[in-house]
């Protein structure tokens, strides 16, 4: 019995060690920094209580403006991308599910392939495609007579949001699609056959067979997509540098700028903790939403 317990502990130990080293201790250290006047150069200059949080949330300082602007930009990005990344990937998965078996694999690979590309390459390709002056898309549309003047896809709002959204969807939709494909494979095909005999169309099947069958995966995809979108950094950093103005500068870029450029680890850590709280609240809210529906059912 003791030997069994020792073996179990040995199996769990690496996880616990890594959890402590790379999650709990850094998190607690971050919490301490957020309660301190902490400069990247001068180090810890003492405990200041909630001063950093007050500065970020309620003062008239530049950090307050940066935080709320970053939050606004992040929320816009989440709202723009999440519906496409969840519903779009589900639509793709349903499309794949209805393809003949011999070509399913090909299309699955095509849709998923973009996910394997690094964000640097994605950004480079989309900048080349969508650049206002000399971009491939504009040149093509001008030469085809669709538009007369170049559209500033990468230079002016609201077009820049369109470019970032399209790039993000192209890059990550394959991953969600794969999760839905697997979930759809779990649904018993006899249910489709039986419902068809009873006269059920696609809409009815979607509502009464498909969605209940993939519900857990759907909410998982929704939650992970929202969290991933909240953490957006690479695309705006590489495609727009947060511009024009600071209109596409998300929260993570604001935090990086606070710490690395303004040397303020204390305020940067406070921003990070606050952002974490927002993400956790979103996740909890969604958990309760799901739970409630299950109970009603």
């Amino acid at each position: 019995m003791i030997k069994k317990k020792t073996t179990a502990v040995l199996f769990v130990l690496p996880f616990i060690l890594f959890f402590l080293m790379f999650w709990l201790i850094p998190f607690l250290y971050g919490l301490v920094m957020s309660l301190s006047k902490y400069s990247l150069v001068k180090g810890n200059q003492g405990f200041v209580g909630l001063e950093n949080y007050m500065k970020v949330l309620f003062s008239s300082s530049m950090y307050n403006k940066s935080f709320w602007l970053g939050m606004k930009n992040t929320v816009i990005f989440v709202l723009l991308t999440t519906p496409f990344l969840v519903l779009g990937s589900l639509a793709l998965a349903l499309l794949l599910d209805r393809l003949p078996d011999n070509i399913k694999g090909i299309f699955r690979t095509i849709y998923f392939a973009s996910y394997a590309v690094s964000v640097t390459a994605v950004a480079a390709v989309f900048v080349w495609l969508m650049k206002g002056n000399g971009g491939y898309l504009n040149n093509m549309m001008i030469n085809m007579g669709i538009i007369k003047k170049a559209i500033p896809w990468m230079e002016q709002q609201p077009f820049v949001w369109v470019s970032l959204t399209v790039a993000t969807i192209w890059w990550t939709i394959g991953y969600n699609m794969m999760l839905f494909v697997n979930a759809l494979n779990e649904i018993d095909t006899q249910l489709y056959e039986a419902s068809s005999i009873d006269g059920a169309g696609f809409g009815t099947q979607l509502r009464y067979i498909i969605f209940p069958g993939i519900k857990n995966v759907f909410f998982f995809v929704l939650m992970t997509t929202i969290i991933a979108s909240f953490n957006v950094y690479g695309q705006p950093r590489l495609m727009t540098q947060g511009g024009p103005g600071e209109t596409t500068k998300p929260m993570i870029m604001m935090i990086t700028s606070t710490i690395m450029d303004r040397n303020d680890l204390g305020v940067g850590s406070a921003m990070t903790i606050l952002m974490g709280i927002v993400i956790v609240l979103c996740s909890i809210g969604q958990y309760y939403l799901t739970k409630e529906k299950e109970e009603l059912r």
Partner: protein
């Protein structure tokens, strides 16, 4: 079979280790990530090692390595271990380097943070005179009340390139540019006199407007943008695009240069006849435009005050260096590097050394150093970002928000602009008080 495979793998590993660690070549050994390169020519055995970090990861990197390697080979007492890394400022702050290359406009901030060592004693040891051996402009950024904090290396100024095919003589005034616009029939041909980009040398673009308009935009330890004269200068930029159409509207990242070297023959893309950019663009522009590439002094676009935005590189020493042997080694390196024949290596990279004796040598060979030769003509009018704390951070709001407002708002009003200029000033004040 297994033994053969193992021997083969061991052989490959041994070969690769030799390639990484072998000290026989001068530079280029990868270290510290994809954008880092470590130089290590001569052996460091038994010598005092001085660690040196710089951000020369582009075409100028090998030229700095040549200077460092030349020093190492000449030495039996000291050895400079060089790391070239695009993220060298962060690494300098977090790691323990003895010496770094720092931009002229960063010195004030690093000086205020106590990261740099006062180096007057090293000048004396090296037999150099800060006051007499360098161009006087260096005194505006390397010297402070408590001493000298850098060894100036070069100065790079906004350089004026023009396309001889589109304009035989370079425009010198705003009126010349209007005449050029009419000649080019800009609105119909999409070929404009110049291009103002959303990003990419845009800080120099607005510094040119403010400088040539004669604006005073510094007050104490912060920039002051919310004045009528600054507002006027930015409105001139706006008029240049939307009233006089000297630049196309809606240009994006690096489009001042992209439109200048644009080889497209249809009207889908904008072209421009001249370009204000850094001297480092000379090589690629020359490759594309060949003999049609002209270099001149900056036209007076926004006013009568001569002003050319500029920046520079300098050597600086970490405040943490207290070991006398290392300090002696650094002085010895400076003595070596600032010999005109050695410093000419830096001019070979396309940069313009600011060491007077080297400048003389460069001026003697204008064909070999065309950009440096032109840059030297405008050094007296160079304007570097003011030497105040956190200056790079202070101008960020202007770079991002004010500039995009000016460039992207066709019906911009002075009230809208002034509101953003006030925001920029408020942020600068807060940053200066940190």
């Amino acid at each position: 079979m297994k033994k053969t495979a193992a021997a083969l793998l061991a052989g490959i590993m041994a070969f690769s280790l030799t390639a990484c660690g072998g000290g026989s070549q001068s530079s280029g050994t990868a270290s510290g990530g994809e954008n880092a390169a470590q130089s290590g020519g001569a052996s460091s055995a038994g010598k005092t090692k001085i660690t040196f970090i710089n951000g020369f990861t582009g075409g100028d990197g090998p030229y700095m390595s040549k200077i460092v390697d030349g020093f190492n080979e000449s030495q039996d007492q000291y050895f400079i271990e060089q790391l070239q890394d695009s993220d060298h400022y962060t690494k300098f702050k977090s790691d323990n380097f003895d010496m770094l290359i720092i931009h002229a406009d960063w010195i004030s901030t690093y000086h205020a943070m106590g990261l740099l060592r006062e180096v007057s004693d090293l000048y004396d040891k090296a037999g150099l005179s800060f006051e007499n051996d360098w161009h006087p402009i260096t005194q505006t950024y390397a010297k402070y009340d408590d001493g000298v904090f850098a060894f100036p290396l070069d100065l790079y100024a906004e350089t004026f390139f023009y396309n001889k095919e589109l304009t035989e003589t370079p425009p010198k005034t705003y009126e010349d540019m209007i005449a050029l616009r009419d000649k080019l029939d800009s609105e119909n041909t999409q070929v404009y006199p110049m291009g103002l980009p959303l990003t990419g040398d845009h800080q120099w673009a607005w510094m040119t407007a403010l400088g040539q308009s004669g604006c005073n935009w510094v007050e104490g330890e912060h920039i002051k943008m919310d004045t009528e004269e600054v507002c006027d200068a930015f409105m001139k930029v706006h008029d240049l695009i939307y009233k006089d159409h000297l630049s196309a509207a809606g240009l994006g990242d690096q489009d001042h240069y992209n439109t200048f070297v644009n080889e497209s023959t249809d009207n889908a893309n904008v072209k421009s006849a001249m370009c204000l950019t850094g001297p480092w663009k000379y090589v690629t522009a020359k490759e594309i435009l060949g003999d049609n590439l002209g270099i001149g002094t900056l036209p007076q676009i926004y006013g009568d005050t001569p002003c050319v935005p500029a920046g520079g590189h300098t050597f600086a020493v970490s405040a943490q260096v207290s070991d006398q042997a290392k300090l002696d080694g650094i002085a010895e390196f400076m003595k070596y590097a600032y010999q005109p024949d050695v410093m000419l290596n830096w001019a070979d990279s396309g940069q313009a050394p600011i060491h007077l004796a080297t400048m003389e040598k460069v001026k003697e060979q204008p064909e070999t150093y065309p950009v440096a030769a032109v840059n030297y003509e405008i050094f007296d009018n160079a304007m570097i970002l003011p030497a105040i704390y956190n200056i790079r951070e202070q101008v960020k709001y202007v770079n991002a928000n004010v500039w995009s407002l000016v460039l992207q708002t066709p019906d911009l009003t002075r009230e809208q602009l002034m509101e953003e200029l006030k925001n920029a000033t408020e942020i600068a004040v807060e940053l200066s008080e940190q």
